[in-house]
Structures are given as C-alpha cells and as structure tokens.
C-alpha cells in the first residue's frame, strides 16, 4: 500500500515534466532550442504566486470549476496501476467510476466556462462537450473488449504486472488497433493536435484553451496541473500496452515504465510537429476512427479467440 502511495505521488510530481517533453520535441522539429524541461514547474510556481482575478459576472461555479477538475484528475490517478504496480484503490467496476469522474471534471470545466457568459467560452464549451462523446463510445468499445478478454471490470486487472501481456497473448494483433484507438482518444481528450491546438492564441479556433481563458493565478495552475495529470493517465494506458512486461522489481519497473512513457509523449510531440490540425468539422471523423478501430478489434477477437 505504501508503495502505491509513493508511486502516486511520483506520478503527480513527474506529470508536468513529461508534458514538457512534448514542447521539446516540437521545438526540435521547429529548429528551435525550446523551453527548459522544467518549464511546467516554473509556470505552476509562477501561477501560484499570482492572485486570481474574477469577473463580476461570474458566480461560485466559476471558482469551483478548476478545483473539481483538478480533484477529478488527481483522484483517477489513485486508480491507475502506475508502472504495473497495484493502485491505491481498486474495486469491481472502478473503470466506469473513473471514466465518469473525468466526465464530472469536464462538466464543471464546461459549467465554469458557461458561467462567464463569454461567446467564445460558450463556443469552446460546445466543442468540448461534443468531441469527448465520441471518445466515450470508443472507450466503452475498448472496455467491452477488455471485459471479454479478462472478465474483469477493474482497471488494475488490465494493467497490473504482466496483465497487458496476457491481453496481447489472448487478443493478438487486434491489440495494435487498441493502441491506435487509445492514442486517438488521448489526443482528443487532452486537446492535442490534430484535434485542438494547445499553442494557439486565436480564441475562435480553440477548443479546450478557450474555456479557461478567464481563469488566472492559482485557479489556472489547478487547471494546468489537472491537464498534466490527465495526460499522464491516458499515456499510461498506451505505455503499458507498448511495454506489457513486468520485472517485478519496483525500481526496474519504474525505469522501464518511464522510458515507455517518454516514447508515448514523444509520439504526441512528433504527431504535433508533422501535421496540421484538422478543420473543426473533420475532427469527429478523426475521433470516430478510434471507435471503428476498437470495434474491429472486438469483431476480430470475438470471432477468432474462442
């Protein structure tokens, strides 16, 4: 149990570092030096030192948004088998609890955005509410597959120890589909290119960023930190699938898990560097690809893995 808590704290502490890797990769492709690897820590510290500004037209909902979304992201990490180690909490059906906990966080981010009554934020909220619906469909498709493979509804049952290897062995190549499907969900849920552009300053094209325009100071730090944790959460899925082994030695596991995480984050960075983002009305097609992949994976598995 103690080890699980330590791993959880490590995950929280390292999440901003991994996100900075994406910036480094993008800078490399752009022929720039890029910000330091600890940039996100500096940003968080800077934001926490600042005061928050609240518009007179907002209510307590606006202040609640960042806190709840941060709490949701931090809590879901407690259910995550980090480095293949057992998580802090785990119960039958926790995967559904986790998905909707993230949904709760998103709901309050959207509510806070609507609370400002800014036309931009309303528009961003509409987009943010729309795209993850398709993600949810893909997530449940993947869940159905995992359930058929393991007869378990616990996140820990899929990603602890050598369990991912079991998934690979029973399902075989369709797991490749699942990796891509997860990766698309990761890009969508975390507002990365080609769905959203985290670097733009143009409100009219933003999805996630526009919703948090009015937050400042510590509130904004909460949002930023929450999004680092969320990205860590989804990256772990992909990382565990591409490195499905476990050495049962905690230090080795952490090291190898760290390396596979770096690979996932670097892949996000490469993705952002080599392609432009999609036009807003093409995004649903892209996200639906993840659903289609998961769906095919199920069809293939159910047919051949009896």
């Amino acid at each position: 149990m103690m080890e699980s808590i330590i791993l959880w704290v490590l995950a929280l502490l390292s999440a901003p570092f991994f996100s900075a890797l994406i910036l480094k990769v993008k800078a490399f492709f752009g022929g720039k030096k890029g910000p330091p690897l600890l940039i996100n820590y500096y940003t968080l510290i800077k934001l926490c030192k600042k005061g928050s500004v609240y518009s007179t037209s907002t209510t307590y909902i606006f202040k609640m948004g960042p806190m709840i979304s941060l709490c949701a992201s931090v809590t879901v990490l407690m259910f995550l088998p980090i480095a293949g180690h057992a998580p802090i909490f785990s119960f039958r059906g926790d995967i559904i609890f986790i998905l909707y906990l993230l949904g709760l966080g998103r709901f309050f981010t959207i509510a806070a955005a609507m609370d400002t009554a800014s036309p931009f934020e309303g528009m961003g909220a509409a987009r943010e509410a729309y795209f993850p619906i398709i993600c949810e469909a893909s997530m449940f498709m993947i869940l159905i597959l995992f359930y058929t493979l393991t007869s378990e509804l616990r996140l820990a049952a899929y990603f602890t120890g050598c369990q991912p290897l079991e998934l690979w062995l029973t399902a075989g190549s369709p797991m490749l589909f699942i990796i891509f499907s997860f990766f698309i969900v990761l890009l969508t849920e975390n507002s990365r290119v080609p769905v959203d552009d985290p670097a733009t300053h143009l409100e009219l094209t933003m999805i996630h960023e526009v919703m948090v325009l009015d937050h400042s100071g510590p509130d904004f730090a909460f949002i930023e930190f929450g999004s680092f944790c969320k990205l860590f959460f989804y990256s772990t899925f992909v990382a565990r699938l591409i490195y499905p082994f476990s050495t049962y030695n905690i230090v080795w596991d952490i090291g190898l898990f760290g390396i596979s995480l770096v690979a996932v984050y670097a892949a996000v960075g490469v993705m952002e560097s080599v392609m432009a983002r999609y036009r807003m009305d093409k995004v649903p097609q892209f996200v639906l690809t993840s659903f289609a992949l998961a769906f095919f994976a199920i069809v293939i598995t159910l047919e051949f893995v009896k």
Partner: protein, 507 residues
C-alpha cells in the same frame, strides 16, 4: 470607348483645368459605363475647390481615366447599379456630408465629423466613443447567435471589431467595423511642412512604408518636374520587393502556425527577420523607413553592401524554397487551405479586390505590370492568377510572388548601382514649389495590392487635397465575403490569408 473621361498616365501631373468637369448625370452614367465594362475604381472622392465641393473619379481599365463633377447636395447612389463604388460613396458621405440616396449599406467608414460642417449623414454625436450609433447587421432565430470579437484582440495586432452572425459553427455573415485607428492623415498632410510629408506617408501603414513613401515621392516629383536617376529607381524597386518578401514570408509562416503546423511557421518567422535585416543593411531601418524620399533615395547601395546582399540572398533562397515546398507538400495543410473561404470571381470583381487577394480570385491585375514605374518597365512580371479564390489560392499566389521577388532582387543587384543620394535636394526641404492648380495620381503595387495617392494643388502650389487609398480599402469586404458559410473556427486562417491593414484603412 466613347467616353468624356480624360485618359491620364500613372504619376504624370496634369493641370486641374484639363480634368473634364461633367454635369452630374453624365458623370454618373459614364463612370458606371466604364465600370460595368470591366473598369475598376481607383479613386472616387470629394474635394473643395473655390468653395464648391466637387467629386472626382479615377477609373482604370488598361489606362487611367479621370473626370470631375460639381457635387450635388445628395445624389442617386452609384453603388445600387455598380457595386465597386460602395465603399467610396460611404467615404464621401462621411468626409463631406454628401448623401448617396438609396445606397444599399450606408454605414460610417471611420467615425469622424465631416470636413464641411454639414449635418452628419449618420446622425452620430462624435463626442461619444466609437462606434457611436452604428447599426450592425443582425439575424434572429433559434440556434442563431452572434459572436463579437475585438476591437482589442488576443494577438498583438491592431484594433478592429468583427461581428459574426452564426448558426452553430457556421457563419452567415461577418461584419467588420473599423475606424479605431483614425488619425486624420489626409487632413494632416496638406498642413505640414514639406519635409514631414514623407515621414507621415511612411507611417500610414507601418508594414507598407516603402509603398506609401513611393506613392508620395512619385507624386511630388511629378508636381515639381524632378527627374530621378536610374540608380535610385533600381534601389526603390529593390526596397519595394524586399517589403513584399518580408510580409509574404511572414504571412505564410503565420498561415502555417494558424493550422498548427509548426516547422514552416518557425522557419518563416526567422526568414522574415532575415529579409527585414536586408532593409536594415540598405538604409539602417528594418521597415525601410527613411529610404525613399522625393527626388530619389537617401542611401546608396555601394558595392560592399551589394556583395553582402547577393551573399545573403544566395544563402536564403534555397531555404525559402524548401520551406514553401514543405508547406505545400503537407497533405494536412493542403486539406485545411483548399476550399476554405472561397470568394468567387464575380464577387471579387464587384468588390474590386486587388493584390494577391484579387489574383487568388483570377483577377490578374498587377500594377507593376499594367502601370509600371520605377524600374518595373524593364522587368517581366508574370501573371499570378489562381482560379479558386480560397485560402490555398491566396497563399499560393503569395508563395509564387516570393520566389519571383527574390529573382527580381537578384537580377537588380547583379550590377553596380550608382545614384546621387538626396541629402540637400530642394524637394526634401521646406521651400519646394509644387506646380499650382495641378492634379496627380500615383499607383504602386504594394505587397497588399494597388496602393494609390492623389495630390491636388491650389493656385499657390499648396496641397489642397491629399487622398490616399490603401488596398485594404477594397479588400476588407473580401474578407467579409470569404467568411460566408465558412466555419467560424476558420476565421483566423482567412484573416491571415488576407492580412489587411487597419491603420492603412483608418488613416
């Protein structure tokens, strides 16, 4: 064509008496005739001559035509039948209080009291802040919403207000309301000492300082019958092409950044700096300010600078080519550019789009080719028309022009350039004599398109009317049109593909 409009040349002063003074009906009918037969409006403005307000119109077909008329109190709008007069009539109404009856969209242009003290056509009280009682186009219904952007924007750009009427993500109509930067340049210019003229002209629009300085200098030279030497002409041509390069390269980078494709965005940002530094090398100012003055140029391009310039351009040319190739060979970029914000050729003709925005709609007009001045008469400027009118076409035209401009500059700096710099030139000091009772119009192809200045002098050789028309004056409505039925999230992309001037419009 049987017209009573007088044919004039670009940058050649004529006596005011030569301008045909037609009765208003003839004036209106003939102007409409020319424009309906493919002519374009270069200028249409009012001025005061001997207590009489007159209207003057400069049109272009393959040549320039001018005519004037005594302005009536109000007149039947020309825009009703002939759309290209639309903005000009609004401007006249705002500047001189002359109302075009039945104008389809009579709104203020820049928000200032008129020059004549007549009752305001728009019923504005100018003590109030802009926009006063501006009546925005509005739509109503379920799921219809309005998004107001600006006048203060997220980026470090100029102020302007954009009002989107949308259904969901789709834009019905975009209304652009400007005037936040109005400084009264046209009113200021006639009142300043001559040596300040060029300084003010350069700052009409900071990114078009060479273009504006050229227009002014050519006009003054023509009114003072000053001949400039060939070397100065070549240096001016180089400067104008460098200005084009700086802005086109910067904008291609920004377009790439707007679709979140970072490598070209970064490379272009750096290369824009390199081109700016070439201007710095020539005249000590990255925007080329202080280079072009009536009578010639203030800095020579000696062999040391010339060799350095050749070296720099040889070095940067393959980089520019490579970056453009990267941008236009990336499928995800092309899928964003193609079909985005298309303006039809017909609409472009009616709006009178000029420059790259017009060429992207298939209108090949380029003032460098059709009304050549400086060294352009010796250069071969290709037609860069693209048929599709979308963001792809606008960026493609710019990319083509970048490579052409590099070649133009390369060819011009091949040989030594000799010029007598203007340091104590008579037209650069206070006591110069403009020809009295004269009129001159100068046209240059600035990087945004046709930029034109008009000067009118009184019987003492003082400037009595200075008229400036920035290409943005035509093109802002093109941007508005491109947003019809386009996703609102594509606005920044379209906006950048036009990249119009706020201060050049607001004056």
């Amino acid at each position: 064509m049987n017209t009573r409009f007088l044919k004039i040349r670009n940058g050649a002063a004529i006596s005011k008496e030569e301008i045909p003074n037609l009765p208003f009906d003839d004036f209106s009918r003939q102007a409409k005739d020319i424009v309906k037969n493919g002519g374009k409006v270069v200028h249409y403005f009012a001025y005061t001559a001997e207590d009489q307000i007159k209207l003057l119109c400069v049109l272009r077909t393959d040549a320039l035509f001018v005519a004037a008329t005594d302005a009536p109190e109000s007149y039947p709008s020309l825009s009703n039948e002939c759309e290209p007069f639309h903005m000009f009539e609004r401007e006249i109404a705002e500047q001189y209080g002359i109302k075009p009856e039945g104008h389809p969209w009579l709104r203020m242009v820049r928000y200032h009291p008129n020059y004549t003290g007549k009752p305001d056509v728009f019923g504005n009280d100018y003590k109030e802040d802009i926009p006063g009682n501006y009546d925005y186009y509005s739509v109503a219904g379920d799921e219809v919403h309005e998004v107001a952007v600006g006048p203060v924007h997220a980026g470090v750009i100029e102020p302007g207000h954009f009002r989107f009427n949308c259904i969901g993500e789709r834009v019905f109509n975009l209304e652009i309301q400007l005037g936040y930067q109005h400084r009264g340049v046209e009113q200021l210019l006639p009142s300043v000492p001559a040596k300040r003229l060029a300084v003010i002209a350069e700052n009409n629009a900071g990114d078009t300082s060479i273009g504006n300085a050229l227009c002014l200098s050519q006009a003054i030279e023509s009114l003072t019958s000053t001949e400039i030497d060939d070397g100065a002409k070549i240096i001016r041509t180089i400067a104008l092409e460098l200005e084009r390069l700086q802005n086109h390269v910067g904008d291609l980078g920004a377009l790439s950044g707007d679709v979140a494709f970072l490598p070209p965005a970064n490379y272009c940002g750096r290369m824009r700096g390199d081109f700016l530094n070439m201007s710095l090398l020539i005249c000590g100012n990255r925007m080329g300010k202080g280079l072009v003055r009536p009578g010639g140029v203030r800095f020579e391009l000696d062999d040391e600078i010339r060799i350095e310039l050749i070296r720099r351009i040889d070095e940067i040319k393959p980089q520019v080519k490579h970056t453009i190739d990267l941008l236009f060979s990336t499928p995800s970029v092309i899928s964003r550019f193609e079909g985005c914000g298309a303006v039809s050729r017909k609409n472009a003709e009616e709006l009178g789009l000029v420059g790259p925005a017009g060429r992207a709609c298939g209108i090949a007009y380029d003032a460098r080719r059709e009304f050549p001045n400086e060294h352009y008469g010796y250069l071969d400027i290709p037609e860069n028309a693209e048929p599709t009118g979308d963001v792809y076409a606008r960026s493609k035209v710019r990319a083509d022009e970048i490579m052409q401009s590099i070649e133009i500059v390369q060819s011009l700096i091949e040989n030594p350039i000799e010029t007598n710099i203007v340091e104590s030139n008579p037209v650069d000091s206070d006591n110069f004599d403009l020809a009295p009772d004269s009129f001159v119009v100068t046209i240059n192809e600035a990087w945004r398109g046709e930029l034109s200045h008009c000067i009118m002098t009184d019987e003492n050789g003082k400037i009595e009317r200075y008229k400036i028309k920035d290409p943005s004056f035509h093109n802002w409505n093109g941007l508005s049109m491109s947003l019809r039925d386009t996703g609102i999230s594509d606005f920044p992309l379209n906006n950048k593909s036009f990249n119009l001037s706020y201060c050049g419009f607001d004056l």
